[in-house]
């Protein structure tokens, strides 16, 4: 599978998020990993340990950048310093594409540091498209927007989330980081069928897929990235791969982080869906 123009025609396979507790294991054991995803903001400092560790990773592994504070849907413009630092990091990592969230999180220069949901309105489509285009033009690499988990819906919404996502990516001509765990979380919180979402997403624009675990509470589900992926999410992933074809896939695990091997093993479960025929052949050979 050669990929598509939204992931620079890369076939990255299955990666995991690069996390500090795993540095020692990675540097000492040099495990075979298809690729690492980094949180851009963790490496946008001037010097010191973070960029030094990143450079060691870049010597041996492919890295893709994922951001958490571009806030494509915020009404106020992004901080030029943020964009400048992000572009410097893009040059350093040579990331083939870059992703951030379809959400908002700052207003009038004050930051909530959360991925707040957008109302699905035509006004929000226009604002978001403008921002995505600006960032994509400035960074000069493909940008993919990620659907977020949400816990609130807005009275003013004029369309479904997947209609909103489609409008944004078509008008901005950008890619999608399709998070199937977020689809599941939002579906449970907003009482819709997650398969409706997976079946509607513009498959040809999916640059990357996220899988993750979450936490279930009495009345809602939180996207906590601190558990293994549950079966219903794997089923959504299987359907997404059926529609999109083999797509670079990344397991997120951000809290109560287990050993590197445990996280990597969880991620590699995705391979049975990415390469079902290969799995069958291996099974037959045994």
């Amino acid at each position: 599978m050669p990929g598509n123009r939204f992931n620079a025609f890369q076939d990255h396979g299955v990666g995991i998020g690069l996390r500090i507790p795993h540095y020692e294991h990675i540097f000492s054991r040099k495990p075979v990993v298809d690729w690492f995803e980094i949180i851009s903001e963790n490496y946008m400092c001037d010097a010191g340990r973070p960029p030094a560790m990143l450079d060691r990773i870049l010597e041996q592994y492919r890295v893709v950048q994922h951001g958490v504070s571009m806030y494509f849907g915020s009404v106020t413009a992004p901080d030029p310093e943020h964009l400048k630092r992000l572009k410097n990091l893009v040059r350093r990592t040579k990331t083939p594409w870059l992703s951030d969230h379809l959400c908002w999180g700052s207003v009038d220069g004050t930051y909530t540091h959360d991925l707040l949901p957008l109302p699905y309105t035509w006004e929000a489509v226009e604002r978001t498209v403008e921002r995505v285009r600006m960032v994509q033009d400035y960074l000069e690499i493909p940008v993919a927007v990620e659907n977020v988990s949400s816990y609130a819906a807005f009275t003013g919404s004029e369309m479904t989330e997947w209609e909103f996502l489609t409008e944004v990516v078509e008008r901005a001509d950008c890619g999608i980081l399709f998070d199937v765990n977020n689809v599941y979380v939002s579906a449970m919180n907003h009482e819709f069928n997650p398969l409706d979402y997976v079946n509607a997403v513009p498959a040809h624009r999916v640059a990357q897929i996220h899988i993750a675990g979450h936490s279930k509470y009495e009345k809602y589900i939180l996207d906590t990235h601190d558990h293994p992926v549950i079966d219903p999410v794997w089923q959504l992933y299987a359907r997404a791969i059926e529609r999109c074809g083999p797509t670079p896939t990344l397991l997120e695990w951000d809290d109560h982080i287990p050993s590197f091997d445990e996280v990597h093993a969880e991620a590699k479960k995705a391979e049975q869906f990415l390469h079902p025929h290969a799995t069958e052949l291996v099974g037959a050979a045994k």
Binding site: A47, P78, H113, R127, T155, E158, T160, F192
Partner: protein, 307 residues
């Protein structure tokens, strides 16, 4: 695009929809409002309006949660995130004043200084100065608390601030009285009222042990400040710096501190030395030798750079 049965919204109301900017300002104000002591969303907004009414004006309920409860999830998430970030950057301050007081202090600080940066790394940048101006937030250990906060913020800066090319020995030898120098951006100069450096190092080591043993930091949420020895006030001058990616605290003399401080402020080399020895008891005859020692050490550590 036509209306869809799965649109995640309420039935249309008579009110005209809030524009995006107004919605974001309204939601941010609600989300960033401090929680009640029971960690619930407050019943009234800062301007006195009912939070229930505000939430219902733009958030739709579902079959399990009201608009208020849905907004409350974000309100809690915001505070857990920012309080967690401050606790991570100021573990020794937390140990010195106790968990409960630290949380109250953090809430008061963030109410005045919410994040103005795209990165949480900068969240505590104003905390030392803010704490110095708010003695009521730290109790009887206020001056020690300010010292500790200054040291911990200096650690954050020294950890990842920029590193410039240091002056070579030849460039140092050619310095004139009117030469202007710059200091490494990662080098932080901190004047303390207490010898708090050893205390902070010990508290950081304790924090590291607890984190690696339990997997979770900050298990003690009590107000107790156990394990913090009583310190006698004594002025200390510190250079917080970085060597091979690790941060170190180095005690220096008052004269060396004042000289470095003057260089950082842009004073020419000669004036910086005068400022350094202002009020000094170091005899004139040994001062040249002392300056030579400083420069030897600064050159070795790469602290001085071209302005």
């Amino acid at each position: 695009m036509s209306a869809h049965p799965n649109v995640q919204a309420n039935a249309p109301t008579n009110q005209s929809p809030m524009d995006l900017a107004a919605l974001q300002r309204e939601m941010a104000a609600a989300v960033m409002q401090p929680l009640t002591p029971d960690e619930n969303m407050r019943a009234t907004m800062p301007d006195g309006r009912s939070t229930t009414a505000v939430a219902a004006s733009f958030i739709a309920p579902n079959s399990r949660l009201t608009a208020f409860e849905r907004l409350e999830i974000y309100n809690r998430q915001y505070w857990y995130r920012v309080l967690g970030a401050l606790a991570e950057d100021f573990p020794a301050l937390r140990a010195v004043i106790g968990g409960r007081r630290f949380e109250a202090l953090s809430i008061a600080y963030l109410a005045e200084h919410p994040s103005r940066s795209f990165t949480l790394r900068n969240l505590g940048s104003k905390l030392p100065a803010w704490l110095a101006a708010h003695p009521e937030q730290a109790g009887r250990r206020h001056r020690l608390a300010v010292d500790v906060a200054k040291m911990e913020w200096a650690f954050v800066e020294a950890f990842d601030a920029a590193e410039l090319a240091p002056l070579t020995q030849r460039q140092i030898a050619a310095l004139q009285g009117e030469s202007r120098l710059a200091l490494q951006p990662y080098l932080q100069l901190v004047a303390l009222h207490y010898p708090a450096d050893d205390l902070v190092l010990e508290l950081h080591a304790q924090e590291k042990r607890q984190t690696s043993e339990a997997g979770v930091a900050h298990e003690d949420d009590s107000g107790a400040t156990t394990g913090v020895p009583k310190l006698q006030p004594r002025p200390i001058w510190l250079a917080v710096h970085r060597v091979d990616l690790s941060v170190y605290y180095r005690r220096i003399g008052r004269e060396e501190f004042q000289t470095l401080d003057a260089l950082r402020s842009g004073s020419p080399f000669g004036e910086a030395l005068e400022a350094g020895f202002l009020g000094s008891r170091i005899p004139e005859r040994v001062r040249a030798e002392r300056v030579q020692e400083w420069f030897g050490s600064w050159a070795e550590l790469g602290w001085i750079c071209q302005a």
